[in-house]
Amino acid sequence: MKLIICFILLLLSFSVFAEKQIVVLSSIDELPHGIKNSIDRQFNDAFKYSGYRYTIQHSVSAEKLSEYLNSDDVYALFYISHATSARSVNGIPFASSITNKDGLDVSKVFQKINSNIKYLSIIGCSAKFILDAYKERGYFHDDLSYYSFDTDVFIKSAINKSLKAGAELYDAEPRSFLRANSSLSRSQRTTRKQVIGIKGLMNQTVEEQSDFIHSEYLKVDVINKNQFEGVISVNDIYIGVLKKGKENQTFYIPNGLDKNGRIKLIVNYPKAILQTGAKSLNLQIDDQNMAVKHPTDAAGVPSGGNLNFYYLVKSSPSDSHL
């Protein structure tokens, strides 16, 4: 009987492990085949015998990134992409961004992360500044460790550094992982080909508790006729991802984000679709007293290039035509 109970407990513990997932995502335009294989090899070498469920996906969309960042099952997430910090080049200031395969800045998507994710690494140039700012603004939960770079980086060495930086969290023997030519059997390989072992019995995955109270949010139904992908924000705060190929979606804007009597909702589209004509959304707000203003030029093309603006304002009777 004892033996059966032990066996069941053992199975249960394995099922706990199985729920833990390490996710590697990349989103780089025209990623060369050789580089892709190299990424696969580096992470496979590290995780294939680890005991973690392990997923690697290339050319991921903003929607897929958001899904994984908000999944209850993910324990560590690596995201490989082009990025840049806010920088001044000979007097011209450039904005920070994490740009995906479609030329869409997905940096704001990282503002919303499931509390089960304990380790996040963005493998991209100077992305550390973006994560530091998010940490400072309180977007990250207390248990999240993150690692990124404050300089321009090459992919191979950056992956090695990211793997090592998280070793304390997900590796059974992080010290040996960090040490080259260790005498331990698993470390007989070079540091580039270390094998990660699972770290003890980890806490079971916790289902994310929603603190979502409808009365504290403004509900906005969006009709996205062109079904383009985009990232929606208000005052630099991430609201959600417009899913590619999906016409109807609902978003919730937290109360208190209005400035000067209006809520400025900005949709960031990939640069690649700039030439494809009108991208306007139809917004329906769950508040009879609010109207939407959407600036366009004389020809009806939305102003702002790859950023589209929607002003949600309290309407007066004279605005009823809006």
Binding site: P93, G103, I123, C125, D152, F309
Partner: protein
């Protein structure tokens, strides 16, 4: 040796390409924020054409010979940058009211500048740039915001002289 020659040729072509965009730089001077101190960066930015930046070219270069480089390939110009606040704008010499105007319309101003950039090429003239910029006036918030933005441009140019 072949690689070395290819590198030299690639760099030469980049330099040539950048210089050939002098027309674009001249045109952009219609915008008061983009004057002499900023010209070198614009030359570089215009270098590879087609919306790609010089840094993008460098990434391709790196990808070919050095390994894959993860710097963002396209830069979004941010004339009112993330570090600019009402306080810092006042410290630069703006009035409180103008600083607040710029702060509350910063996304529109940055988007307008980038939208104008996206429509330009090496043949764009100063007049065309001025006309395209004038089309953005209502979008960035009207005459008052435009004047505040011009004032900031002048202050920054004076500071960089």
């Amino acid at each position: 040796m072949k690689k070395f020659l290819a590198t030299v040729l690639l760099l030469s072509s980049m330099t040539f390409s950048a210089n050939s965009n002098a027309g674009l730089v001249l045109g952009l001077t219609g915008n008061p924020l983009i004057l002499a101190p900023m010209v070198p960066a614009l030359l570089l930015t215009a270098g590879t054409g087609g919306g790609n930046s010089f840094l993008g070219g460098l990434a391709v270069f790196g990808g070919s010979f050095l390994g894959f480089f993860l710097l963002n390939e396209t830069g979004t110009v941010s004339v009112i940058s993330e570090s600019d606040s009402v306080e810092s704008l006042v410290a630069e010499g703006m009035s409180q009211a103008d600083a607040e105007l710029l702060d509350s319309n910063r996304e529109e101003i940055n988007a307008a500048v980038n939208a104008v950039f996206a429509t330009l090429d090496e043949k764009s003239t100063r007049e065309e740039v001025a006309m395209k910029w004038a089309e953005q006036k209502d979008f960035i918030g009207g005459e008052e915001v435009l004047n505040a933005y011009n004032l900031l441009g002048n202050l920054r140019v004076l500071k960089n002289k």
